[in-house]
């Protein structure tokens, strides 16, 4: 389903095309899913669940919230790089191309991420709109890379995303310092 959506868009994806690609019989599909939307929602839930699992394992011993968020963003970018069709489904189809239920799923996930960023940069939690806008900036870069078929580049953009997430709250100097640290963390682990 995710691969078909990434190639043709949700609107033009047919159940038949999904079955052909997966080598699955219609009876088997019908025993698991009510329809195309149900299958797409299951695909969305799969990647959201994997993301949450990655986040929980990202770096539990990091001692401050900013450090934890850096590892969490890194984990998300690596997952999206490894699962490009699912990333397309989450970041593009469910936001702009899918059904209202898919859109609700996207909105819920985006709200959770914005809350994470807000808590990292603004412990008082007084500026949620700003966190959401900063997240939107990062997502615009993610979507450009996905549209260009360059999802494998996403982990390299970690420093830029760390800067965007922190600069409204801690200022340019500290955001740049954190971005450089993120670049070192990424380089050390490669």
């Amino acid at each position: 389903m995710a691969e078909c959506c990434a190639e043709s868009g949700y609107g033009e994806t047919t159940v038949e095309a999904v079955l052909d690609r997966a080598g699955v019989e219609p009876e088997s599909f019908e025993s698991h899913f009510a329809d195309k939307e149900d299958c797409a929602l299951a695909a969305l839930n799969k990647i959201v669940s994997e993301t949450l699992a990655q986040l929980s394992m990202a770096h539990p011993l990091a001692d401050d919230v900013v450090a934890r968020r850096k590892f969490e963003v890194k984990a998300i970018l690596e997952l999206m790089a490894a699962q490009q069709p699912f990333a397309w489904l989450v970041y593009i189809e469910s936001r702009q191309g899918g059904t209202p239920r898919m859109h609700d799923s996207y909105e819920s996930a985006a709200r959770v991420l914005a809350l994470m960023m807000e808590r990292a940069g603004d412990p008082a939690g007084s500026r949620s709109g700003i966190a959401r806008a900063a997240l939107g900036g990062a997502e615009a870069v993610v979507r450009r890379e996905l549209a260009a078929g360059r999802a494998e580049r996403l982990p390299q953009l970690l420093p830029d995303f760390v800067y965007a997430a922190l600069v409204p709250f801690v200022g340019q100097r500290e955001a740049l310092r954190q971005a450089k640290q993120a670049a070192r963390v990424a380089a050390e682990e490669e």
Binding site: G11, A133, G136, G137, A138, E139, Y163, A164
Partner: protein
Amino acid sequence: MDVQQRETLLRAMLDELALAGYRETSVDRALAAAGVSVEEFEREFRDKDDCLFAAYDQLTAQVVARASAECGGGEPWPDRIRKGLEALLDELAAQPQMARALTRSFPGIRPAAYDRYVELLARFVPFMREGRAYSEVDEELPGEVELLAVGAAEAIIFGEVDAGRAERLPQMLPEILFSVLVPFMGPDRAADEMRSAAMSN
């Protein structure tokens, strides 16, 4: 068809798209609204998609031209960005259906249509570059800072249009301006610009 009919037809197609969705978009209804015959349509466009893509290209050209007209001149960069944003938000607020077609209905058709949306955002990136000169630190800002700023504005605009509140966009100018300026100027100076915009808004 004459220029006026073509313009009306392209608008009618985007109205159809925003109101009915891609599958239900009816060329026949758009032709009726524009007073254009099927034969005239077929002379100009291969099919529904050809017409929709032409309509989207025309709309994006108008939106970018409207915003960029305000970004020229000799005023300081933050003032020009404010004026460009103001023009953009006024344009979108005045045409909620066009705003929806621009941000949601058309990009969602299929990946080739989404590419046009990515290109639209990229067209705002050059207006941001001058902001690097306003940084409060000597170090180079991240390579993607321009698109991060454009994407921050897009996120707020998309949220309002998607919620059916496009007419509220002009009131959100101060918040959007802050989100665009903050990666370049830091939060204190971006907040000054935001307060100034709020007072004159």
